[in-house]
């Protein structure tokens, strides 16, 4: 109990409050800019957190992520150019409202839904993470090894249409994650006699390069090839009923909002699915269950509530596998895992045992971030909307220069800037060739832990080839891993066949019609 009170008191210290507030404000501002999302913002700002205490650092990054998730709705509603896939469903009903001069109303609904979804999800995280972590403490190295293998397999499917390319990316991430000092012999491995690689590739330059720099390379390409994006419609009506959400309107959507939050919590807690799945699933359910199905897509507040409550509730629930098992469920969680490691903490069940006070402090910061989001969004909405109008010619050089200096900031080394540029280049090609940079990054982060658990299993079992069969949970997880791989291959072959049949049937029908 003392730990809980001390942790919560830490979270309301002036420094912690200030950084959570700053994180939320910067997150909303950055998220509102088309093309910049939460994980990218975390990657850009992690170097700054080197100079903070662990609690303020995590509080700032969590606030940043929560703010950016809501910020994504701003460009989706005002420009119909959602910066992230999860905001796409918000734009379906948000943009028609903007065209009717009700952009502010749509954004307020998005804000309240985001805050509600996020708050519910945070409470669920607080209630279940610690008890689950206590159970997870009984897991040994075999189970951890099997679990990471399963997570890597599931995650390989994110951000690519091909499981093969996903696994290639994950394998490449693991390979690069192993560069540095080998844990058993303590000798350099795969460093190619480059002394700077002795401690391995730093996460910060790799993450900035892959997430931020490569994204900006593509954004600039889109901008220079296709020309500037459409400017903000930004037609805010002066009528109060077109600007504000009444209690009646809010409570008429409460069912949708709760359903969306539960979908988001469920989806977020499972590694590999992510916010877009939650958002689309919730929108689909809201539409199916609504009495006004035909109004969806034409500016219905229910659609915004469904999408935003679901995608925002993923933010906190994706921390459940991270806190309980030490496995990031999505990119934002992976970046937060990196932040934990930078500050000397290893996410996983031991986190609650070794850093209990800090964990309760983080819980406090998570709740405060939700409240700050409500306050900042409520009073600063109109100002944040101006972020969508920042000219690309000014914005992109700023982001590129920030990437370069952010990579330098970690170790004050130009070598890291070189690594960042290299991974920006690699990330550009990965995106163009459809190789999952998410799988790469998660493989890169999990590789040392994966190898450590394997080494422990081999040493404990004294090279017993049946080491996994003796542990039923580990064996179950390994079987599940094989099942996931086999099922994904089978589904991809099946989907290809089905698609070809549909295409053939469509072509035949078209030919018949032409005849």
């Amino acid at each position: 109990m003392e730990m809980i009170i001390a942790g919560l008191l830490d979270s309301i210290s002036p420094a912690s409050l200030m950084f959570v507030l700053l994180g939320v404000a910067v997150g909303v501002l950055i998220g509102a800019i088309p093309g910049i999302n939460g994980p990218m913002a975390i990657a850009l700002f992690i170097p700054i957190t080197y100079y903070m205490t662990p609690l303020t650092a995590v509080g700032f990054l969590v606030g940043l992520n929560k703010g950016a998730f809501f910020g994504g709705a701003v460009s989706a509603v005002l420009l119909r150019t959602p910066g992230t896939p999860e905001a796409a469903a918000t734009s379906w009903d948000g943009y028609p409202l903007t065209q009717q001069g009700k952009g502010e109303k749509a954004l307020r609904m998005a804000l309240y839904s985001s805050v509600a979804g996020d708050f519910i999800s945070t409470i669920v995280l607080i209630l279940i993470a610690a008890p689950l972590a206590a159970i997870a403490l009984f897991m040994g190295p075999s189970e951890i090894f099997a679990l990471i293998s399963l997570a890597l397999t599931v995650i390989a499917g994110i951000g690519t249409t091909s499981i093969c390319r996903g696994l290639i990316a994950a394998g490449f991430g693991i390979l690069l994650g192993l560069i540095g000092t080998e844990p058993v012999t303590a000798l350099p491995r795969l460093t190619f006699d480059v002394y700077q690689l002795g401690s391995g590739l730093s996460l910060i330059p790799v993450a900035i390069g892959l997430l931020a720099f490569s994204e900006i390379l593509l954004q600039v390409e889109k901008f220079t090839v296709k020309g500037g994006s459409a400017q903000s419609a930004n037609k805010f009506s002066s009528k109060l009923e077109d600007r504000l959400i009444t209690f009646k309107e809010f409570f008429s959507n409460i069912k949708t909002l709760l359903r969306g939050s539960l979908i988001g919590i469920g989806v977020g807690a499972m590694p590999g699915l992510g916010a877009p799945v939650a958002s689309f699933m919730s929108y689909d359910q809201a539409m199916k269950r609504s009495k006004h199905k035909k109004e969806f897509g034409k500016g219905r507040l229910e659609g915004i509530a469904a999408s935003e409550s679901a995608n925002s509730s993923v933010v906190a629930s994706s921390l459940i596998p991270l806190f309980v098992l030490g496995i990031p469920g999505n990119l934002a969680a992976a970046m937060l895992m990196g932040a934990f490691m930078i500050h000397g903490m290893q996410p996983g069940p031991l986190l609650f045992k070794e850093n209990a006070q800090l964990m309760y402090g983080i819980y406090g910061s998570l709740v405060l971030a939700s409240l700050f989001l409500l306050v900042i969004g409520r009073f600063g909405l109109r100002y944040f909307c101006k972020a969508v109008d920042i000219p690309a010619m000014i914005l992109y050089p700023i982001v590129i220069f920030t990437c370069i200096m952010g990579a330098y900031l970690g170790k004050s080394s130009m070598f890291d800037v070189g690594i960042m540029l290299t991974f920006g280049f690699i990330g550009y090609f990965m995106r163009k060739f459809d190789y999952s940079y998410v799988a790469f990054l998660i493989g890169f982060i999990l590789a040392p832990e994966w190898e450590r658990s394997l080494q422990q299993v081999v040493i404990i079992s004294e090279h017993d080839p049946f080491m996994f069969i003796q542990r039923p949970v580990a064996m179950g997880l390994m079987v599940l891993t094989l099942f996931v791989i086999a099922r994904t291959f089978w589904c991809s072959i099946g989907a290809g066949r089905k698609k070809k049949q549909v295409e053939a049937a469509t072509a035949a029908a078209g030919q018949h019609k032409a005849d």
Binding site: L175, I400, F401, L409, L421, K432, D434, V458
Partner: protein
């Protein structure tokens, strides 16, 4: 790709399926290089207990090799049998009529990439000789020009402000030494 109106010759582009095949071949080559040279040369010898230090790197590379070979066989079969594979994997999104959605898959714009990467690489080199201030200012000016800005006053103002702000943040905010020789010292 259909030729543009008035063009006498159709411009031949590499199709996505061929490009993917080349990528898989490069990955296979990389994996063979890793397995035969890099991992044996740059991995410590087996100490006699635990798993070999080369085990996990070998497993990672073998997964990559297996998947690349599998994909290569799939593409090879599709090309030899002249059986098209799914449209999403054989066509570039920019060639399809429908909206590509959130996919970033597409043709590599080499000129664009070079235009952006060269100033960045030059900055890394130049900053160590002419210092942070001059190199950053020049870099930002060039970058804004490359992106399309032709408003010189705006470019100069943005470059000066950004260089100064980051200098102050790094030097006085975080106490980090600014890279390269300093012109004001």
């Amino acid at each position: 790709m259909l030729p543009a109106k008035g063009c006498e010759k159709e411009v031949k582009h590499v199709t996505r399926i061929i490009r993917d095949a080349i990528a898989y071949l490069l990955i296979v080559g990389f994996c063979i290089l890793m397995l035969t040279w890099a991992i044996p040369t740059y991995t410590p010898a087996y100490p006699g207990y635990g798993a070999s230090p080369a085990l996990v790197p070998n497993v990672a590379v073998c997964v990559m090799l297996f998947m690349a070979c599998l994909s290569l066989i799939r593409v090879g079969v599709a090309l030899c049998m002249k059986k098209p594979i799914v449209v999403e994997e054989s066509e570039f999104p920019e060639d399809l009529e429908e909206d590509g959605g959130f996919t970033q898959v597409g043709r590599v714009k080499i000129v664009h990439l070079v235009n952006l990467m060269v100033p960045c690489v030059l900055l890394v080199v130049a900053i160590q000789y002419i210092g942070y201030m001059l190199a950053s200012f020049a870099f930002l000016m060039v970058l804004q020009y490359v992106i399309g800005s032709r408003k010189w006053t705006q470019s100069i103002v943005v470059s000066i402000i950004l260089t100064a702000v980051l200098f102050i943040v790094m030097r006085y905010g975080f106490g980090v030494p600014v890279p390269g020789p300093q012109i004001f010292e």
